[in-house]
């Protein structure tokens, strides 16, 4: 399987401003050095408590927020600079590619060994730099910055989002036809009124809403139907990846399973990839192929679903798992109760960020930050004692 999205060392800090001069007094470290891949056709579940940065990852991935640093590769293209103002995009490309390639060339000595040391996007871009641009920075930059409009549009087509709140995610003044048809019209996938109506009807029927309803307003639908319209809006662009940001959290349980099953069916039909962001472990267990557990802006554990739910290794994951309610009063389960609240992301604890609440915490935890390492095939954990 090929990775569709590669997130490398993603960092997103939000400034806190205070006083009449709006000085930056602190940073909220919402996402701090997070790396993971999303492979084509899989469903990745992203779990964690509220405030752990899971939504921020989704928003940053979609570039509704600009990342503070890190790299986001989508379909073998570095998309990090796509939405930056051109001067920032230039300095990003210079720093991340031109200067790095030049330094590598000096270290390696020859072009061949430099090429061999690189892979994926880096290798392709090195080729563009050394072959197509013949080592000229300005030519490389103009090659990389050409057709930006098209690149941005393709990015927007490939990545779509379904939001949490079915009430505020649809513009109350627009009809369903306009809401769902906006994407295809923007990307010129359809032309003229007739094609728009046809497209909207097809997509709506895909998500189980009658095509007769295209002239209705959002308030004329129920919560579940609205969420289906939200899915339809994303689907209308035939995206590769859909980010479902707590997409079913606001629905009641019976509707929730309907929408989840709908999304699973759509995945098969349209070969979709999902990033499912949720705090609800039972939802994650039901939909995901692979699960990533976050705590306070960091990944603490990542594993295929079965491994993670059968044998959680990180103490935080274990505590989460022990909190899943079992609808059987005869089964007694040992619960791990976490003390206190999630610490502030403005001033996260030193070392392992979980050590203030961890039942296994030792001296080393406060001093050294555990790295995410592969303890079993495909099972990554960031803990000193695993």
């Amino acid at each position: 399987m090929k990775p569709l999205v590669k997130i490398e060392h993603l960092v997103k800090y939000f400034p806190i401003r205070a006083g009449i001069f709006k000085r930056i007094v602190a940073w909220v470290k919402a996402v701090d050095d997070v790396s993971f891949d999303i492979f084509e056709g899989e469903t990745v579940g992203l779990v964690g408590e509220s405030g752990c940065g899971k939504t921020t990852i989704g928003m940053t991935l979609l570039r509704l927020y600009e990342p503070t640093s890190g790299r986001i590769i989508v379909a073998d293209e570095d998309t990090t600079y796509y939405f930056l103002p051109s001067s920032k995009a230039r300095s990003y490309l210079k720093k991340n590619y031109v200067e790095r390639f030049q330094k590598l060339l000096k270290e390696k000595g020859s072009l061949d060994s430099l090429m061999n040391s690189l892979d994926g996007v880096d290798r392709r871009y090195a080729q563009i730099f050394f072959a197509d641009a013949k080592g000229s920075t300005t030519r490389f930059l103009s090659l990389m910055l050409s057709n930006m409009d098209e690149k941005r549009k393709k990015f927007r087509r490939d990545l779509q989002i379904v939001f949490q709140d079915p009430y505020s995610s649809l513009n109350p003044r627009l009809r369903v036809k306009t809401i769902v048809g906006e994407g295809p019209l923007t990307h010129k996938l359809v032309k003229g009124e007739k094609e728009v109506i046809e497209k909207v009807k097809t997509v709506l029927e895909d998500v189980g809403i009658s095509g007769e309803y295209i002239y209705r307003f959002p308030h004329e639908f129920s919560g579940g139907q609205r969420q289906r319209i939200g899915v339809a809006r994303a689907l209308a662009l035939s995206p590769k990846l859909i980010i479902a940001d707590e997409a079913v959290a606001a629905l009641d349980v019976s509707i929730r399973s309907q929408v989840i099953n709908l999304m699973k069916d759509l995945q098969k039909e349209h070969k979709l990839t999902y990033l499912f962001i949720s705090h609800d472990l039972s939802v994650i267990k039901y939909v995901s192929d692979r699960v990533i557990v976050m705590y306070l802006g960091k990944i603490v554990e990542s594993a295929p679903k079965k491994d993670l739910f059968d044998r959680p290794l990180h103490p935080y994951t274990r505590a989460l798992m022990s909190a899943i309610p079992i609808p059987n009063p005869n089964i007694k389960k040992e619960r791990i109760i976490l003390k206190g609240d999630v610490p502030s992301p403005i001033n996260p604890p030193s070392g392992c960020r979980f050590h203030t609440r961890c039942y296994m915490s030792q001296e080393i935890c406060a001093n050294a930050e555990p790295q995410l390492r592969e303890v079993e095939p495909k099972h990554f954990v960031a803990c000193h004692f695993v």
Partner: protein, 292 residues
């Protein structure tokens, strides 16, 4: 879109207070338009009420002066031509102050940060000054005349709009449908045009409509205090200013000079009522959530 307009009008017709509001408004508009036919002007300035008699005491309605005479001037003429004055003051002041407010408020809301801070503190300063008092002081400072009144009303009338549009933009900017539109790749310009403005502008329009009525009252209050239009100008407030000395009636006859108050007063009340009802009706029409 045409069926949509038709449906909107149909719904308005079913609402009696909307019908009343629009009828009153149409009635006043017609009067303002055909004022020269009802009351042909008799001097070079049609807004100056011609002098009927040099007797200063009010005279009750007669066939020749159907609303009576006050301060030697025909009340009927004043009420009819005063409609034009009311429209002029209400529309010009509201339009100008709304445009100023929209500009300041939307700049503050969109760009945020420093600019927002500065603009909003200026707004606060203007808001902290009592409206009528400020209008009186500015008018007294600029000198008499309707234009001066309008300037002072505009100067102190834009803050509510600025606040309203800024707050709305701040709220709508973070709505998920705006984020969704951005994620679809819709350009900023279209996001503002299709998603932000339609959800922010209507409260401003409704508020402006309702303000037209209350502005006429404020302008009349200034005229009543002798700060507005020059003596003899066709303006409801000025007519009431004439009536000030006769408010108590004659001894034993409290309502002797009723016509001096009732006619211009009724015109003003109906005018304000018309705009308020129209504002209410617009609010119902513009909010799709209230659609039945």
């Amino acid at each position: 879109m045409r069926t949509e307009t038709k449906r909107m009008i149909k719904r308005l017709m079913r609402n009696p207070s909307a019908v009343l509001g629009f009828s009153l408004l149409i009635f006043f508009t017609i009067i303002a338009i055909i004022a020269p036919i009802i009351c042909p002007p008799q001097s070079y300035d049609p807004y100056m009420i011609p002098i009927a008699t040099w007797d200063k005491t009010p005279q009750p309605p007669t066939a020749e002066h159907p609303f009576g005479v006050i301060d030697g001037r025909d009340i009927f003429y004043g009420v009819i031509w005063g409609t034009r004055t009311a429209f002029k003051v209400g529309l010009i002041v509201t339009l100008t102050s709304t445009v100023i407010g929209l500009l300041i408020g939307s700049v503050a809301g969109y760009f945020g940060g420093w600019l927002d801070e500065i603009l909003m503190r200026i707004t606060d300063i203007f808001l902290s000054i009592p409206y009528i008092l400020a209008a009186i002081v500015v008018t007294a400072f600029l000198g008499m005349g309707l234009n001066k009144v309008m300037i002072s009303l505009i100067t102190f009338g834009w803050m509510a709009t600025a606040r309203l549009i800024r707050g709305n933009i701040l709220q709508v900017r973070e709505e998920q449908y705006v984020l969704a539109a951005r994620a679809l790749g819709v350009s900023d310009y279209l996001v503002i045009l299709k998603h932000v403005l339609p959800n922010t502008i209507f409260p401003v329009i409704i508020q402006a409509t309702m303000r037209i009525g209350s502005l006429v009252i404020t302008a009349a209050a200034l005229s009543f205090l002798g700060l507005g239009a020059p003596v003899g100008y066709a303006d409801w407030g000025s007519l009431l200013n004439f009536a000030r000395n006769w408010l108590l009636g004659a001894s034993g006859e409290a309502f002797k000079y009723w016509y001096a108050i009732v006619y211009p007063g009724t015109a003003m009340v109906l005018f304000v009522l018309a705009w308020n009802l129209v504002g209410d009706a617009l609010r119902d029409v513009f909010d799709p959530r209230l659609r039945g």
